[in-house]
Structure formats: C-alpha cells, structure tokens
Amino acid sequence: MADAPHDRSGLAVDAQGLSKRYGAQTALDSVDVAVRPHERLAILGPNGAGKSTLIAVLSTALRGNAGTLRIMGWDTAAAPNEARRRIGVVAHRTYLYEELTAHENLLFYGRLYSVPNLTEHVERLLKLVDMFPRRHDRVGDLSRGMQQRVALARALVHDPPVLLLDEPDTGLDQLHLDLLAALVQGRALPARTVILTTHNLDRALALCTRVAILARGRLVFSCDTASLDPTRLRETYSRLAGAPQ
C-alpha cells in the first residue's frame, strides 16, 4: 500500500458535511464522522434513520451529494482507490457470488485487491470464520449465517485498517456472535478501526468504544461508552430516536 498523504487530523475516518438525498428525501443531512485509529464506533438509530446510507457513502459504494470524506488520510474524491484499499465492508448484501464456492469468492476478491500469498491467506480466513470445512460449497447452498461468515472473511481479505459493518450480526448464531465480537474488538485479528451499525444497544456498548445516534439523517448524539451505562443509553436513545427495538 502507498504511504498515507500528510494528514493533519490523524483520523482513520474523517467525514465532514456528508449529505445524501434520494429525490426529495434526505437520507443524510450534513453528517460529520471523526473516528480515530483503532477506535470502535457504533451507530444506533431506528429503521430509516440513514445508517445503511451512511455506511454506503463511507464505503464509497454511494456518492454523497455534498461533503468530504478521507479514509486513513486519503480523500475519496481525489484518490478513491487508495481509500478503497483501506476499507473492508460487510453490508446487508453479502457481495458474494452464489454460483462460486466460498473459497472461489475470497480468491476473486483477493485478486481484485492484489493480496499477496492469497491462497494461504484465504485458507487462514476461512478457518478463522469457521468455514474451512465448507470452503468448496457454493455460496448459494450455504445458510444465511454461513454466508455472513464468508462475507466477514471477504471484508478482511485485503487486511483493511478500517472496517465498516452494517448490522454484521445478521443470521449469526451465538457462537459466531462471539467470533464477531472477537474480530471487532481486535482479539481474533490485529485491532483496526471499526464503524458498525446495530439495533442492539447492549451489543453496541459491549463491542465499541463510542456510540452515536443517527435520527432522520442527522447525528444527534455521540459519547464514549466508558461514560455510559445501559440505562442512560436507553433513555437517551428513547428521547432522541424513539423506543429501542
């Protein structure tokens, strides 16, 4: 990877004034996100608050209507591919090809990212997400939870310093929720910067170092988890975004 350009902020993710509109509908309204390296930010919010849109814009999958975004110092408008190299994404869709096996999917994405020693690396990841025994099964034949584990491996295949996870617990059983926690908290792999969205307030408090609440496309609350307890978070969430789901 190329060296990061001189960046005075030192932030892993630095988004300022991000806006996204779908016709007359405003999905994101001048959102600022500043995340330090190795920080773990949980974004909470009700359905339709703009969480998935925010992850899509941060991942460069969607182009915002306004605002600037830097990933590890790389401006996504000026050097999109340098920024993309540093992002791993797990979204509602797995981005996996149903006709290909789990192994073939990871090899495909690894080649797009020019990952060295790819075969060994892919096998390590498949073992990490507990999918090595099913590596030669086509993704279309796997359960939703298994597909989600392969999607986690896909997001990690190029060893990105920033992980963007949009409700990454979808379909995972308790055993693999623990694996997800270990990945997010840097116990299973080296620590990295994480932004995740979830509806589960307790999981947000357990996994992350900071939580933020998104409501009607605006970030209305942000606080370190060290100074928050579940009761206060629930009260704040109910007041700003409605009752937690």
């Binding site: 993309r84 979204a91 869709r93």
Partner: protein
C-alpha cells in the same frame, strides 16, 4: 502483468466461471439464435438470388436480438444480487471494470456466433464461414458488445430494465448493424466498389469504445 490487466482478467475469469455454473445467459442466447434461424428458414423459404440479398440481414438481426437477450443479464445479475457494489468498492478503476465486462460479453457473443454462423451456412446455403465474413462478424460484435455493456449497466439500475436495453441499444447500434449487413452482403456478392464498410465499422468501433469507456464511470457511479 500490470495490476489493471490482472484485474480485467480476474473479472473476465469470474464471469466465465459464474456463467459455466449458472448457464442462464448463453442458454438463452443460443436457444433464441437457433430458433430464429430455423423459423426464418421455414417461414421465408428463401431461394436463389433472394437469399444473398436477404440473408445477411437475417443473420445480423438474429445476432443482434440474441445479443440483447444475453447482454441484458450481465449487469442485471450483478445488480440484483448486490455483487455490483462489491465490485464498485474494490480498488479498481471503472474503466477496468468496463473492459472486463466487455471482454466477457465478447466471449459469450463469440460462443453464440460459433453456433449461429455454421447453422446459418447450412440452413441458407451461404458461405459465411470465410475469413472476410468472420472479420466483419468480429467487428460488428465488438461494436454491439461495447454499447451493450454500457447500456446494460445503465438499464440494470432501472425498474424497466428489460425494456430499456433494447430501446437504448437498437437505435444507437444502427450504424454497426447497417455496416455489418452491408459489408457481409458485399463479401457474399463479391461486389467491387461501394462504401468501405469494414473501414466504417472500424471507425464506429473506435468512437463507441472511446465514448463507452469515458461514460461508464458516470453510469455506474450515478
């Protein structure tokens, strides 16, 4: 190998592997092309010099409509399954993705034509399996696939995707279609003189390739 070339090959190889397993693109194109030729042959009952006049048009209409059916699937499949986003967030220039998709489409179309041309030669008794016609077929297919790849990416994002691709592709590929039909007719008739159709096809391909390469980024990034 250059990283961009490696990414192009990676996309092509993936598309071929997906298609060999799914078979929803080649099967549709081949079935349509074979059925069209058989129906044309039975319904029109062409004989004598009329075959040489009408044959090239029938051949290129068959190729064009079969190609529309097939190419419509390439980006729709990626869009419906969400894998297009996986490609767009990879560190890959949009031009690289376009070239990869174009090459994959070309391979699928050439496979379809590898069946269509011999069958056409047998059914209509025209010597289309000769180098000049094969060259014209390659050039016409390139023009068609270039615009088809661009417009299928555009149509995939629309709700009216099934209808949009032919509506966009048929009018814009008129120069390629006319050029291919006329060039094929001239070769089969052994005509000397007339417009330099092969040169015109080459020129259209250069223009279409340049435009599609430049516009693709705006199409997929919306």
């Amino acid at each position: 190998m250059m990283p961009a070339a490696r990414q192009v090959l990676t996309v092509v190889r993936k598309d071929l592997l997906v298609e060999t397993r799914a078979r929803d693109l080649l099967n549709v194109m081949l079935t349509f092309a074979v059925l069209s030729l058989v129906i044309f042959n039975l319904a029109l009952d062409l004989r004598g010099p009329v075959v040489r006049e009408v044959g090239p048009g029938l051949l290129w209409l068959t190729i064009a409509f079969a190609a529309i059916l097939g190419m419509g699937r390439t980006f729709v499949r990626e869009h419906e399954r969400g894998t297009l986003t996986g490609l767009l967030i990879a560190p890959m220039d949009r031009g690289v993705l376009f070239v990869g998709k174009l090459l994959a489409n070309l391979i699928f179309l050439f496979v379809m034509e590898a069946v269509t041309l011999p069958m056409f030669a047998v059914l209509f008794g025209l010597p289309v399996l000769q180098p000049a016609v094969l060259l014209i077929t390659a050039l016409g297919t390139l023009g068609f696939a270039t615009l088809g790849t661009l417009f299928s990416a555009m149509a995939a994002q629309s709700r009216a995707r099934e209808a949009l691709l032919p509506l966009l592709l048929l009018p814009t590929t008129v120069p390629v279609l006319i050029g291919s039909v006329q060039a094929t007719s001239h070769v089969l008739d052994d005509t000397v003189g007339g417009p330099p159709w092969i040169g015109l096809l080459l020129a259209f391909n250069v223009i279409f390739l340049t435009l599609a390469f430049l516009l693709f980024e705006h199409v997929v990034d919306g």
